[in-house]
Symmetry: C2
Subunit: 329 residues, 2 copies
Protein backbone atom coordinates (compact mmCIF):
# COMPACT_ATOMS: atom_id res chain seq x y z
CA UNK A 1 0.00 0.00 0.00
CA UNK A 2 1.27 3.46 -0.91
CA UNK A 3 1.37 5.61 2.19
CA UNK A 4 -0.51 8.91 2.35
CA UNK A 5 2.17 11.62 2.24
CA UNK A 6 1.44 14.39 4.72
CA UNK A 7 3.00 17.86 4.65
CA UNK A 8 2.97 20.00 7.77
CA UNK A 9 2.67 23.78 7.40
CA UNK A 10 3.90 25.56 10.54
CA UNK A 11 5.90 23.80 13.22
CA UNK A 12 4.61 25.02 16.60
CA UNK A 13 2.74 22.96 19.21
CA UNK A 14 0.15 21.84 16.67
CA UNK A 15 2.73 21.00 13.99
CA UNK A 16 4.80 18.98 16.45
CA UNK A 17 1.62 17.18 17.64
CA UNK A 18 0.78 16.39 14.02
CA UNK A 19 4.23 14.90 13.47
CA UNK A 20 3.68 12.61 16.49
CA UNK A 21 0.12 11.69 15.44
CA UNK A 22 1.26 10.62 11.95
CA UNK A 23 3.46 7.97 13.62
CA UNK A 24 0.36 6.34 15.11
CA UNK A 25 -1.17 5.83 11.65
CA UNK A 26 0.50 3.06 9.65
CA UNK A 27 -0.96 4.19 6.32
CA UNK A 28 0.66 7.64 6.54
CA UNK A 29 4.08 9.21 6.45
CA UNK A 30 5.45 12.67 7.05
CA UNK A 31 6.68 13.89 3.66
CA UNK A 32 7.85 17.45 4.39
CA UNK A 33 7.54 20.42 6.72
CA UNK A 34 7.07 24.03 5.64
CA UNK A 35 8.11 26.90 7.89
CA UNK A 36 8.33 30.68 7.79
CA UNK A 37 11.53 30.47 9.83
CA UNK A 38 14.90 29.71 8.29
CA UNK A 39 14.50 25.97 7.39
CA UNK A 40 18.10 25.31 8.44
CA UNK A 41 17.26 26.50 11.97
CA UNK A 42 14.40 24.04 12.44
CA UNK A 43 15.11 20.70 14.12
CA UNK A 44 12.18 18.30 13.71
CA UNK A 45 11.72 14.89 15.36
CA UNK A 46 11.63 12.74 12.24
CA UNK A 47 14.98 11.93 10.64
CA UNK A 48 15.44 12.45 6.93
CA UNK A 49 12.32 14.54 6.32
CA UNK A 50 13.01 17.78 4.45
CA UNK A 51 12.13 21.18 5.87
CA UNK A 52 11.34 23.86 3.30
CA UNK A 53 10.68 27.57 3.41
CA UNK A 54 7.04 28.60 3.06
CA UNK A 55 8.23 30.89 0.25
CA UNK A 56 9.08 27.85 -1.87
CA UNK A 57 5.91 25.84 -1.24
CA UNK A 58 4.71 26.15 -4.85
CA UNK A 59 7.83 24.27 -5.97
CA UNK A 60 6.76 21.26 -3.89
CA UNK A 61 3.24 20.81 -5.24
CA UNK A 62 3.72 17.11 -5.90
CA UNK A 63 5.54 16.31 -2.65
CA UNK A 64 2.54 15.80 -0.36
CA UNK A 65 -0.92 14.30 -0.84
CA UNK A 66 -2.42 16.39 1.95
CA UNK A 67 -1.15 19.47 3.77
CA UNK A 68 -2.07 19.90 7.41
CA UNK A 69 -2.14 23.62 8.15
CA UNK A 70 -0.94 24.17 11.71
CA UNK A 71 -0.99 27.97 11.82
CA UNK A 72 -3.28 30.20 13.85
CA UNK A 73 -6.75 31.40 12.93
CA UNK A 74 -6.09 35.10 13.52
CA UNK A 75 -3.61 35.81 10.73
CA UNK A 76 -2.04 32.59 9.32
CA UNK A 77 -5.02 30.60 8.10
CA UNK A 78 -7.09 33.39 6.51
CA UNK A 79 -4.17 33.94 4.15
CA UNK A 80 -2.73 30.40 3.85
CA UNK A 81 -5.98 28.42 3.66
CA UNK A 82 -7.36 29.85 0.39
CA UNK A 83 -3.88 30.11 -1.17
CA UNK A 84 -2.80 26.53 -0.44
CA UNK A 85 -6.18 24.93 -1.23
CA UNK A 86 -5.54 25.68 -4.89
CA UNK A 87 -2.28 23.69 -4.86
CA UNK A 88 -2.91 20.88 -2.36
CA UNK A 89 -5.63 18.99 -0.51
CA UNK A 90 -5.61 20.59 2.95
CA UNK A 91 -6.92 20.14 6.47
CA UNK A 92 -6.95 22.99 8.99
CA UNK A 93 -8.30 23.93 12.40
CA UNK A 94 -9.70 27.38 11.62
CA UNK A 95 -11.59 28.17 14.82
CA UNK A 96 -12.88 31.76 14.63
CA UNK A 97 -16.51 30.62 14.76
CA UNK A 98 -18.01 33.90 13.50
CA UNK A 99 -15.80 33.95 10.41
CA UNK A 100 -16.26 30.33 9.36
CA UNK A 101 -18.84 31.06 6.61
CA UNK A 102 -16.58 33.55 4.80
CA UNK A 103 -13.50 31.39 5.30
CA UNK A 104 -15.42 28.39 3.91
CA UNK A 105 -16.36 30.34 0.78
CA UNK A 106 -12.79 31.51 0.16
CA UNK A 107 -11.31 28.02 0.59
CA UNK A 108 -14.13 26.40 -1.40
CA UNK A 109 -13.51 28.54 -4.44
CA UNK A 110 -9.73 27.87 -4.39
CA UNK A 111 -10.12 24.16 -3.74
CA UNK A 112 -12.58 23.80 -6.62
CA UNK A 113 -10.23 25.73 -8.90
CA UNK A 114 -7.41 23.36 -8.02
CA UNK A 115 -9.56 20.23 -7.98
CA UNK A 116 -8.64 19.63 -4.35
CA UNK A 117 -10.50 18.68 -1.17
CA UNK A 118 -9.99 21.02 1.79
CA UNK A 119 -11.52 20.16 5.15
CA UNK A 120 -11.71 23.26 7.33
CA UNK A 121 -12.34 23.87 11.05
CA UNK A 122 -11.22 20.41 12.14
CA UNK A 123 -10.36 19.83 15.80
CA UNK A 124 -12.54 19.43 18.84
CA UNK A 125 -14.33 22.80 18.87
CA UNK A 126 -15.01 23.42 16.07
CA UNK A 127 -14.81 19.75 15.10
CA UNK A 128 -15.87 16.84 17.29
CA UNK A 129 -18.02 19.14 19.47
CA UNK A 130 -19.73 20.43 16.32
CA UNK A 131 -20.48 16.86 15.28
CA UNK A 132 -21.91 16.17 18.75
CA UNK A 133 -24.07 19.32 18.53
CA UNK A 134 -25.35 18.33 15.08
CA UNK A 135 -26.10 14.67 15.91
CA UNK A 136 -27.80 15.74 19.15
CA UNK A 137 -30.05 18.32 17.54
CA UNK A 138 -31.01 16.05 14.62
CA UNK A 139 -31.86 13.09 16.84
CA UNK A 140 -33.71 15.12 19.47
CA UNK A 141 -35.19 18.09 17.57
CA UNK A 142 -37.09 19.29 20.64
CA UNK A 143 -34.39 20.21 23.11
CA UNK A 144 -31.45 22.37 24.04
CA UNK A 145 -27.74 22.05 23.37
CA UNK A 146 -25.17 23.16 25.94
CA UNK A 147 -21.42 23.41 25.40
CA UNK A 148 -19.07 23.65 28.39
CA UNK A 149 -15.31 24.06 28.14
CA UNK A 150 -12.67 23.04 30.65
CA UNK A 151 -11.19 22.58 33.00
CA UNK A 152 -8.41 23.66 30.69
CA UNK A 153 -5.90 26.20 29.55
CA UNK A 154 -7.12 28.91 27.22
CA UNK A 155 -4.17 30.08 25.15
CA UNK A 156 -6.00 33.21 24.00
CA UNK A 157 -6.88 34.30 27.53
CA UNK A 158 -3.36 33.57 28.78
CA UNK A 159 -1.99 35.73 25.97
CA UNK A 160 -4.43 38.53 26.84
CA UNK A 161 -3.15 38.58 30.43
CA UNK A 162 0.44 38.69 29.20
CA UNK A 163 -0.35 41.90 27.36
CA UNK A 164 -1.26 43.67 30.64
CA UNK A 165 1.48 46.07 31.76
CA UNK A 166 3.61 44.66 34.56
CA UNK A 167 2.81 41.02 33.70
CA UNK A 168 5.72 38.70 32.89
CA UNK A 169 3.88 35.43 32.30
CA UNK A 170 0.42 33.97 32.84
CA UNK A 171 -1.72 30.88 32.53
CA UNK A 172 -5.52 31.01 32.42
CA UNK A 173 -7.88 28.10 33.17
CA UNK A 174 -11.48 28.01 31.99
CA UNK A 175 -13.62 26.06 34.48
CA UNK A 176 -17.23 24.94 34.00
CA UNK A 177 -19.55 25.75 36.91
CA UNK A 178 -20.47 22.40 38.47
CA UNK A 179 -23.97 23.51 39.52
CA UNK A 180 -24.78 24.58 35.95
CA UNK A 181 -23.51 21.28 34.55
CA UNK A 182 -25.58 19.30 37.05
CA UNK A 183 -28.70 21.31 36.26
CA UNK A 184 -28.25 20.55 32.55
CA UNK A 185 -27.60 16.85 33.19
CA UNK A 186 -30.78 16.65 35.26
CA UNK A 187 -32.86 17.58 32.20
CA UNK A 188 -34.01 20.87 33.81
CA UNK A 189 -33.11 22.84 30.63
CA UNK A 190 -31.90 25.93 32.50
CA UNK A 191 -31.25 29.23 30.76
CA UNK A 192 -27.67 30.08 31.62
CA UNK A 193 -25.80 33.35 31.33
CA UNK A 194 -22.13 33.45 30.38
CA UNK A 195 -21.27 34.06 34.04
CA UNK A 196 -23.33 31.09 35.21
CA UNK A 197 -21.61 28.63 32.88
CA UNK A 198 -17.88 29.18 33.41
CA UNK A 199 -15.42 30.75 35.82
CA UNK A 200 -11.88 31.86 34.94
CA UNK A 201 -8.83 31.26 37.09
CA UNK A 202 -5.58 33.09 36.35
CA UNK A 203 -2.05 32.40 37.55
CA UNK A 204 0.05 35.48 36.98
CA UNK A 205 3.76 36.29 37.30
CA UNK A 206 4.48 40.02 37.65
CA UNK A 207 7.54 42.24 37.48
CA UNK A 208 9.14 43.14 40.79
CA UNK A 209 7.42 46.12 42.32
CA UNK A 210 4.40 45.91 40.04
CA UNK A 211 1.04 47.20 41.31
CA UNK A 212 -0.78 43.89 41.87
CA UNK A 213 -4.13 45.47 42.74
CA UNK A 214 -4.09 47.45 39.51
CA UNK A 215 -3.14 44.38 37.46
CA UNK A 216 -5.85 42.26 39.08
CA UNK A 217 -8.46 44.92 38.37
CA UNK A 218 -7.27 45.33 34.80
CA UNK A 219 -7.56 41.58 34.18
CA UNK A 220 -10.97 41.19 35.82
CA UNK A 221 -12.46 44.10 33.87
CA UNK A 222 -11.02 43.24 30.48
CA UNK A 223 -13.94 43.31 28.03
CA UNK A 224 -14.76 40.11 26.05
CA UNK A 225 -12.08 38.13 27.86
CA UNK A 226 -12.93 38.45 31.57
CA UNK A 227 -15.54 41.13 32.34
CA UNK A 228 -18.49 38.74 31.86
CA UNK A 229 -17.04 36.05 34.16
CA UNK A 230 -16.27 35.51 37.81
CA UNK A 231 -12.50 35.63 37.65
CA UNK A 232 -9.92 34.70 40.26
CA UNK A 233 -6.34 35.98 40.04
CA UNK A 234 -3.43 34.29 41.83
CA UNK A 235 -0.01 35.92 41.83
CA UNK A 236 2.74 33.30 41.79
CA UNK A 237 6.44 33.11 40.95
CA UNK A 238 7.82 32.10 37.56
CA UNK A 239 9.19 28.94 39.21
CA UNK A 240 5.72 28.00 40.46
CA UNK A 241 4.18 28.70 37.06
CA UNK A 242 6.77 26.54 35.31
CA UNK A 243 6.48 23.78 37.89
CA UNK A 244 2.69 23.58 38.29
CA UNK A 245 1.23 24.99 35.08
CA UNK A 246 3.39 23.88 32.19
CA UNK A 247 0.92 21.41 30.63
CA UNK A 248 -1.77 22.31 28.12
CA UNK A 249 -4.68 20.18 29.34
CA UNK A 250 -8.22 20.91 28.20
CA UNK A 251 -11.59 19.34 27.75
CA UNK A 252 -15.27 20.03 28.03
CA UNK A 253 -18.61 18.58 27.10
CA UNK A 254 -21.54 18.98 24.76
CA UNK A 255 -24.89 18.04 26.26
CA UNK A 256 -28.12 17.67 24.32
CA UNK A 257 -31.16 17.62 26.55
CA UNK A 258 -34.23 16.56 24.57
CA UNK A 259 -37.85 15.55 25.01
CA UNK A 260 -39.92 12.95 23.19
CA UNK A 261 -43.37 11.41 23.64
CA UNK A 262 -46.91 12.57 22.99
CA UNK A 263 -46.50 15.74 25.08
CA UNK A 264 -42.72 15.88 25.51
CA UNK A 265 -43.02 13.85 28.73
CA UNK A 266 -39.89 11.75 28.17
CA UNK A 267 -36.41 13.14 28.94
CA UNK A 268 -33.18 12.13 27.24
CA UNK A 269 -29.66 13.33 27.93
CA UNK A 270 -26.88 12.83 25.35
CA UNK A 271 -23.42 13.88 26.47
CA UNK A 272 -20.11 13.97 24.61
CA UNK A 273 -17.18 14.75 26.88
CA UNK A 274 -13.43 15.15 26.55
CA UNK A 275 -10.66 15.05 29.16
CA UNK A 276 -7.48 15.90 27.28
CA UNK A 277 -3.94 15.64 28.60
CA UNK A 278 -2.76 17.92 25.81
CA UNK A 279 -4.97 20.15 23.73
CA UNK A 280 -2.56 20.43 20.74
CA UNK A 281 -1.76 16.70 20.69
CA UNK A 282 -5.47 15.80 20.66
CA UNK A 283 -6.33 18.43 18.06
CA UNK A 284 -3.54 17.26 15.78
CA UNK A 285 -4.68 13.64 16.14
CA UNK A 286 -8.06 14.72 14.77
CA UNK A 287 -6.42 16.68 11.93
CA UNK A 288 -4.49 13.57 10.89
CA UNK A 289 -7.63 11.40 10.82
CA UNK A 290 -9.36 13.97 8.62
CA UNK A 291 -6.31 14.12 6.33
CA UNK A 292 -7.10 10.48 5.51
CA UNK A 293 -10.65 11.52 4.68
CA UNK A 294 -9.46 14.39 2.47
CA UNK A 295 -7.15 12.02 0.60
CA UNK A 296 -9.92 9.48 -0.02
CA UNK A 297 -12.60 11.97 -0.99
CA UNK A 298 -10.15 13.53 -3.45
CA UNK A 299 -9.36 10.09 -4.91
CA UNK A 300 -13.09 9.63 -5.45
CA UNK A 301 -13.13 12.79 -7.56
CA UNK A 302 -14.62 15.18 -5.03
CA UNK A 303 -13.39 18.76 -4.68
CA UNK A 304 -14.10 21.91 -2.71
CA UNK A 305 -14.23 22.93 0.93
CA UNK A 306 -15.74 20.49 3.43
CA UNK A 307 -16.32 20.49 7.16
CA UNK A 308 -16.65 17.64 9.65
CA UNK A 309 -20.37 17.71 8.81
CA UNK A 310 -19.64 16.59 5.25
CA UNK A 311 -17.36 13.68 6.09
CA UNK A 312 -18.95 10.25 6.60
CA UNK A 313 -17.26 8.59 9.62
CA UNK A 314 -16.02 5.65 7.50
CA UNK A 315 -13.60 7.95 5.64
CA UNK A 316 -11.63 8.45 8.86
CA UNK A 317 -10.74 4.81 9.38
CA UNK A 318 -7.72 2.97 8.05
CA UNK A 319 -9.97 -0.10 7.95
CA UNK A 320 -12.31 -1.14 5.12
CA UNK A 321 -16.09 -0.80 5.22
CA UNK A 322 -16.47 -4.56 5.76
CA UNK A 323 -13.97 -4.51 8.63
CA UNK A 324 -15.58 -1.66 10.51
CA UNK A 325 -19.06 -3.16 10.04
CA UNK A 326 -17.83 -6.47 11.48
CA UNK A 327 -15.74 -5.01 14.31
CA UNK A 328 -17.24 -1.72 15.39
CA UNK A 329 -20.91 -1.53 14.40
CA UNK B 1 -41.33 22.17 0.31
CA UNK B 2 -42.60 18.67 -0.36
CA UNK B 3 -42.56 16.67 2.84
CA UNK B 4 -40.70 13.39 3.09
CA UNK B 5 -43.36 10.67 3.23
CA UNK B 6 -42.54 8.03 5.84
CA UNK B 7 -44.11 4.57 6.00
CA UNK B 8 -43.94 2.59 9.25
CA UNK B 9 -43.66 -1.20 9.05
CA UNK B 10 -44.74 -2.81 12.33
CA UNK B 11 -46.64 -0.92 15.01
CA UNK B 12 -45.20 -1.96 18.38
CA UNK B 13 -43.21 0.23 20.80
CA UNK B 14 -40.75 1.21 18.09
CA UNK B 15 -43.44 1.91 15.48
CA UNK B 16 -45.37 4.08 17.91
CA UNK B 17 -42.15 5.91 18.86
CA UNK B 18 -41.49 6.52 15.17
CA UNK B 19 -44.96 7.98 14.71
CA UNK B 20 -44.27 10.42 17.57
CA UNK B 21 -40.77 11.28 16.31
CA UNK B 22 -42.06 12.17 12.84
CA UNK B 23 -44.19 14.90 14.46
CA UNK B 24 -41.02 16.61 15.72
CA UNK B 25 -39.63 16.94 12.19
CA UNK B 26 -41.41 19.61 10.13
CA UNK B 27 -40.08 18.29 6.81
CA UNK B 28 -41.69 14.88 7.26
CA UNK B 29 -45.11 13.30 7.40
CA UNK B 30 -46.45 9.88 8.25
CA UNK B 31 -47.81 8.49 4.97
CA UNK B 32 -48.95 4.98 5.94
CA UNK B 33 -48.54 2.14 8.41
CA UNK B 34 -48.12 -1.54 7.49
CA UNK B 35 -49.06 -4.28 9.95
CA UNK B 36 -49.29 -8.06 10.07
CA UNK B 37 -52.40 -7.72 12.22
CA UNK B 38 -55.82 -7.04 10.77
CA UNK B 39 -55.48 -3.38 9.67
CA UNK B 40 -59.02 -2.64 10.81
CA UNK B 41 -58.05 -3.64 14.37
CA UNK B 42 -55.15 -1.16 14.59
CA UNK B 43 -55.80 2.27 16.10
CA UNK B 44 -52.89 4.63 15.45
CA UNK B 45 -52.35 8.12 16.90
CA UNK B 46 -52.39 10.10 13.66
CA UNK B 47 -55.79 10.83 12.17
CA UNK B 48 -56.42 10.11 8.52
CA UNK B 49 -53.33 7.99 7.89
CA UNK B 50 -54.12 4.65 6.22
CA UNK B 51 -53.16 1.34 7.81
CA UNK B 52 -52.49 -1.48 5.33
CA UNK B 53 -51.81 -5.17 5.60
CA UNK B 54 -48.20 -6.25 5.17
CA UNK B 55 -49.50 -8.65 2.52
CA UNK B 56 -50.45 -5.74 0.29
CA UNK B 57 -47.26 -3.71 0.67
CA UNK B 58 -46.21 -4.21 -2.96
CA UNK B 59 -49.39 -2.38 -4.05
CA UNK B 60 -48.21 0.72 -2.17
CA UNK B 61 -44.75 1.11 -3.69
CA UNK B 62 -45.26 4.77 -4.53
CA UNK B 63 -46.96 5.73 -1.25
CA UNK B 64 -43.86 6.35 0.87
CA UNK B 65 -40.41 7.84 0.18
CA UNK B 66 -38.80 5.88 3.00
CA UNK B 67 -40.00 2.91 5.03
CA UNK B 68 -38.92 2.67 8.66
CA UNK B 69 -38.82 -1.01 9.59
CA UNK B 70 -39.85 -1.38 13.22
CA UNK B 71 -39.80 -5.17 13.52
CA UNK B 72 -37.43 -7.30 15.57
CA UNK B 73 -33.99 -8.55 14.56
CA UNK B 74 -34.64 -12.21 15.37
CA UNK B 75 -37.22 -13.06 12.74
CA UNK B 76 -38.85 -9.92 11.23
CA UNK B 77 -35.92 -7.99 9.78
CA UNK B 78 -33.91 -10.86 8.24
CA UNK B 79 -36.94 -11.53 6.04
CA UNK B 80 -38.38 -8.01 5.61
CA UNK B 81 -35.14 -6.05 5.17
CA UNK B 82 -33.92 -7.64 1.94
CA UNK B 83 -37.45 -7.98 0.55
CA UNK B 84 -38.51 -4.38 1.14
CA UNK B 85 -35.17 -2.81 0.12
CA UNK B 86 -35.96 -3.76 -3.47
CA UNK B 87 -39.22 -1.77 -3.39
CA UNK B 88 -38.47 1.17 -1.07
CA UNK B 89 -35.70 3.15 0.55
CA UNK B 90 -35.56 1.74 4.08
CA UNK B 91 -34.10 2.37 7.53
CA UNK B 92 -33.98 -0.35 10.18
CA UNK B 93 -32.48 -1.11 13.58
CA UNK B 94 -31.10 -4.60 12.92
CA UNK B 95 -29.08 -5.23 16.08
CA UNK B 96 -27.80 -8.81 16.01
CA UNK B 97 -24.15 -7.69 15.94
CA UNK B 98 -22.71 -11.01 14.79
CA UNK B 99 -25.05 -11.24 11.80
CA UNK B 100 -24.65 -7.67 10.55
CA UNK B 101 -22.18 -8.55 7.72
CA UNK B 102 -24.50 -11.12 6.15
CA UNK B 103 -27.57 -8.93 6.66
CA UNK B 104 -25.72 -6.02 5.04
CA UNK B 105 -24.90 -8.14 1.97
CA UNK B 106 -28.51 -9.32 1.57
CA UNK B 107 -29.96 -5.82 1.89
CA UNK B 108 -27.23 -4.32 -0.31
CA UNK B 109 -27.97 -6.60 -3.20
CA UNK B 110 -31.74 -5.93 -3.04
CA UNK B 111 -31.33 -2.19 -2.59
CA UNK B 112 -29.01 -1.98 -5.59
CA UNK B 113 -31.44 -4.02 -7.68
CA UNK B 114 -34.24 -1.59 -6.78
CA UNK B 115 -32.08 1.52 -7.01
CA UNK B 116 -32.86 2.31 -3.37
CA UNK B 117 -30.86 3.42 -0.33
CA UNK B 118 -31.24 1.24 2.78
CA UNK B 119 -29.58 2.27 6.01
CA UNK B 120 -29.29 -0.71 8.34
CA UNK B 121 -28.50 -1.13 12.05
CA UNK B 122 -29.58 2.39 13.01
CA UNK B 123 -30.28 3.15 16.66
CA UNK B 124 -27.97 3.71 19.59
CA UNK B 125 -26.18 0.36 19.72
CA UNK B 126 -25.61 -0.42 16.91
CA UNK B 127 -25.84 3.19 15.78
CA UNK B 128 -24.70 6.21 17.76
CA UNK B 129 -22.48 4.03 19.97
CA UNK B 130 -20.89 2.58 16.82
CA UNK B 131 -20.18 6.08 15.55
CA UNK B 132 -18.61 6.96 18.92
CA UNK B 133 -16.46 3.80 18.76
CA UNK B 134 -15.33 4.60 15.22
CA UNK B 135 -14.54 8.30 15.83
CA UNK B 136 -12.71 7.40 19.04
CA UNK B 137 -10.52 4.73 17.47
CA UNK B 138 -9.69 6.84 14.40
CA UNK B 139 -8.75 9.91 16.42
CA UNK B 140 -6.81 8.03 19.07
CA UNK B 141 -5.40 4.95 17.26
CA UNK B 142 -3.36 3.92 20.32
CA UNK B 143 -5.95 3.14 22.93
CA UNK B 144 -8.85 1.03 24.11
CA UNK B 145 -12.59 1.32 23.60
CA UNK B 146 -15.04 0.35 26.32
CA UNK B 147 -18.81 0.07 25.97
CA UNK B 148 -21.02 -0.01 29.06
CA UNK B 149 -24.80 -0.41 28.98
CA UNK B 150 -27.33 0.75 31.54
CA UNK B 151 -28.71 1.33 33.93
CA UNK B 152 -31.57 0.15 31.80
CA UNK B 153 -34.14 -2.46 30.94
CA UNK B 154 -33.04 -5.30 28.70
CA UNK B 155 -36.07 -6.57 26.84
CA UNK B 156 -34.29 -9.77 25.79
CA UNK B 157 -33.25 -10.67 29.32
CA UNK B 158 -36.71 -9.85 30.68
CA UNK B 159 -38.21 -12.18 28.07
CA UNK B 160 -35.73 -14.92 29.00
CA UNK B 161 -36.85 -14.78 32.63
CA UNK B 162 -40.50 -14.94 31.58
CA UNK B 163 -39.79 -18.25 29.87
CA UNK B 164 -38.73 -19.84 33.21
CA UNK B 165 -41.43 -22.16 34.58
CA UNK B 166 -43.44 -20.59 37.37
CA UNK B 167 -42.67 -17.01 36.29
CA UNK B 168 -45.61 -14.75 35.47
CA UNK B 169 -43.80 -11.51 34.62
CA UNK B 170 -40.31 -10.00 34.94
CA UNK B 171 -38.18 -6.95 34.35
CA UNK B 172 -34.38 -7.10 34.08
CA UNK B 173 -32.00 -4.15 34.56
CA UNK B 174 -28.45 -4.15 33.23
CA UNK B 175 -26.21 -2.06 35.50
CA UNK B 176 -22.63 -0.97 34.80
CA UNK B 177 -20.19 -1.63 37.66
CA UNK B 178 -19.19 1.79 39.00
CA UNK B 179 -15.65 0.74 39.95
CA UNK B 180 -14.99 -0.52 36.42
CA UNK B 181 -16.32 2.69 34.89
CA UNK B 182 -14.16 4.81 37.18
CA UNK B 183 -11.06 2.75 36.36
CA UNK B 184 -11.68 3.31 32.64
CA UNK B 185 -12.31 7.04 33.11
CA UNK B 186 -9.04 7.35 35.03
CA UNK B 187 -7.09 6.24 31.95
CA UNK B 188 -5.88 3.05 33.67
CA UNK B 189 -6.92 0.92 30.64
CA UNK B 190 -8.04 -2.06 32.72
CA UNK B 191 -8.76 -5.45 31.20
CA UNK B 192 -12.28 -6.26 32.26
CA UNK B 193 -14.18 -9.53 32.22
CA UNK B 194 -17.88 -9.68 31.45
CA UNK B 195 -18.57 -10.08 35.19
CA UNK B 196 -16.47 -7.05 36.09
CA UNK B 197 -18.29 -4.73 33.69
CA UNK B 198 -21.99 -5.24 34.42
CA UNK B 199 -24.36 -6.68 37.01
CA UNK B 200 -27.93 -7.82 36.37
CA UNK B 201 -30.89 -7.10 38.62
CA UNK B 202 -34.16 -8.96 38.11
CA UNK B 203 -37.64 -8.18 39.41
CA UNK B 204 -39.76 -11.29 39.11
CA UNK B 205 -43.44 -12.08 39.65
CA UNK B 206 -44.16 -15.80 40.23
CA UNK B 207 -47.24 -18.01 40.34
CA UNK B 208 -48.69 -18.71 43.75
CA UNK B 209 -46.90 -21.61 45.38
CA UNK B 210 -43.98 -21.54 42.94
CA UNK B 211 -40.58 -22.78 44.15
CA UNK B 212 -38.72 -19.45 44.44
CA UNK B 213 -35.34 -20.97 45.27
CA UNK B 214 -35.52 -23.13 42.16
CA UNK B 215 -36.57 -20.19 39.96
CA UNK B 216 -33.79 -17.99 41.35
CA UNK B 217 -31.20 -20.68 40.68
CA UNK B 218 -32.54 -21.28 37.20
CA UNK B 219 -32.29 -17.58 36.35
CA UNK B 220 -28.81 -17.10 37.83
CA UNK B 221 -27.39 -20.11 35.98
CA UNK B 222 -28.99 -19.44 32.61
CA UNK B 223 -26.16 -19.66 30.03
CA UNK B 224 -25.43 -16.56 27.84
CA UNK B 225 -28.04 -14.48 29.66
CA UNK B 226 -27.03 -14.59 33.35
CA UNK B 227 -24.37 -17.22 34.15
CA UNK B 228 -21.44 -14.88 33.40
CA UNK B 229 -22.80 -12.06 35.60
CA UNK B 230 -23.42 -11.31 39.24
CA UNK B 231 -27.19 -11.44 39.24
CA UNK B 232 -29.66 -10.35 41.92
CA UNK B 233 -33.23 -11.63 41.92
CA UNK B 234 -36.08 -9.84 43.74
CA UNK B 235 -39.49 -11.46 43.98
CA UNK B 236 -42.24 -8.86 43.92
CA UNK B 237 -45.98 -8.68 43.22
CA UNK B 238 -47.51 -7.86 39.85
CA UNK B 239 -48.80 -4.62 41.39
CA UNK B 240 -45.28 -3.62 42.42
CA UNK B 241 -43.90 -4.50 39.01
CA UNK B 242 -46.55 -2.44 37.24
CA UNK B 243 -46.14 0.46 39.64
CA UNK B 244 -42.33 0.68 39.88
CA UNK B 245 -41.01 -0.91 36.70
CA UNK B 246 -43.32 0.02 33.84
CA UNK B 247 -40.90 2.40 32.06
CA UNK B 248 -38.33 1.36 29.47
CA UNK B 249 -35.37 3.54 30.45
CA UNK B 250 -31.89 2.73 29.19
CA UNK B 251 -28.53 4.27 28.49
CA UNK B 252 -24.86 3.61 28.66
CA UNK B 253 -21.54 5.00 27.51
CA UNK B 254 -18.73 4.45 25.08
CA UNK B 255 -15.32 5.47 26.38
CA UNK B 256 -12.18 5.75 24.27
CA UNK B 257 -9.04 5.90 26.37
CA UNK B 258 -6.06 6.85 24.22
CA UNK B 259 -2.42 7.88 24.44
CA UNK B 260 -0.43 10.39 22.41
CA UNK B 261 3.04 11.95 22.64
CA UNK B 262 6.53 10.75 21.88
CA UNK B 263 6.23 7.70 24.15
CA UNK B 264 2.45 7.60 24.75
CA UNK B 265 2.89 9.77 27.83
CA UNK B 266 -0.26 11.86 27.32
CA UNK B 267 -3.71 10.51 28.30
CA UNK B 268 -6.99 11.43 26.69
CA UNK B 269 -10.50 10.27 27.59
CA UNK B 270 -13.37 10.64 25.12
CA UNK B 271 -16.78 9.65 26.42
CA UNK B 272 -20.17 9.46 24.74
CA UNK B 273 -22.99 8.81 27.15
CA UNK B 274 -26.76 8.39 27.02
CA UNK B 275 -29.42 8.65 29.73
CA UNK B 276 -32.68 7.70 28.05
CA UNK B 277 -36.14 8.04 29.49
CA UNK B 278 -37.46 5.62 26.88
CA UNK B 279 -35.33 3.27 24.83
CA UNK B 280 -37.87 2.83 21.98
CA UNK B 281 -38.66 6.55 21.76
CA UNK B 282 -34.96 7.44 21.52
CA UNK B 283 -34.21 4.68 19.02
CA UNK B 284 -37.10 5.73 16.80
CA UNK B 285 -35.95 9.36 16.94
CA UNK B 286 -32.63 8.21 15.46
CA UNK B 287 -34.39 6.10 12.82
CA UNK B 288 -36.36 9.15 11.69
CA UNK B 289 -33.23 11.34 11.37
CA UNK B 290 -31.58 8.63 9.23
CA UNK B 291 -34.73 8.37 7.11
CA UNK B 292 -33.98 11.95 6.05
CA UNK B 293 -30.46 10.88 5.12
CA UNK B 294 -31.74 7.90 3.11
CA UNK B 295 -34.13 10.17 1.24
CA UNK B 296 -31.40 12.66 0.37
CA UNK B 297 -28.75 10.13 -0.59
CA UNK B 298 -31.32 8.44 -2.86
CA UNK B 299 -32.18 11.79 -4.44
CA UNK B 300 -28.47 12.23 -5.19
CA UNK B 301 -28.52 8.96 -7.13
CA UNK B 302 -26.91 6.70 -4.54
CA UNK B 303 -28.13 3.16 -3.94
CA UNK B 304 -27.33 0.11 -1.85
CA UNK B 305 -27.02 -0.72 1.83
CA UNK B 306 -25.42 1.86 4.13
CA UNK B 307 -24.70 2.04 7.82
CA UNK B 308 -24.26 5.01 10.16
CA UNK B 309 -20.56 4.89 9.16
CA UNK B 310 -21.46 5.83 5.57
CA UNK B 311 -23.70 8.78 6.36
CA UNK B 312 -22.10 12.23 6.62
CA UNK B 313 -23.65 14.05 9.61
CA UNK B 314 -24.98 16.87 7.40
CA UNK B 315 -27.48 14.48 5.77
CA UNK B 316 -29.31 14.15 9.09
CA UNK B 317 -30.19 17.81 9.45
CA UNK B 318 -33.25 19.59 8.17
CA UNK B 319 -31.02 22.65 7.81
CA UNK B 320 -28.80 23.54 4.84
CA UNK B 321 -25.02 23.20 4.79
CA UNK B 322 -24.62 26.97 5.10
CA UNK B 323 -27.00 27.08 8.08
CA UNK B 324 -25.30 24.32 10.06
CA UNK B 325 -21.85 25.80 9.34
CA UNK B 326 -23.02 29.17 10.66
CA UNK B 327 -25.00 27.89 13.65
CA UNK B 328 -23.43 24.66 14.84
CA UNK B 329 -19.81 24.39 13.68
Amino acid sequence: MDKIRIGIVGYGNLGRGTELAIRQNPDMELACVFTRRDPASLKILTEGVPVYSMNDIADHKGDADVLILCGGSATDLPEQGPKLAEMFCTVDSFDTHAKIPQYFEAVDSSAKKGGNVSIISVGWDPGMFSVARLYGSCILPHGNTYTFWGKGVSQGHSDAIRRVEGVVDARQYTIPVEAAVEAVRSGADPELTTRQKHTRECFVVVKEGADKAKIESEIKNMPNYFADYDTTVHFISQEELDRDHSGIPHGGFVIRSGKTGECGETNHIVEYSLKLGSNPEFTSSILVAYARAAYRMHKEGQSGAKTVFDVAPAYLSVKSGAEIRAEML
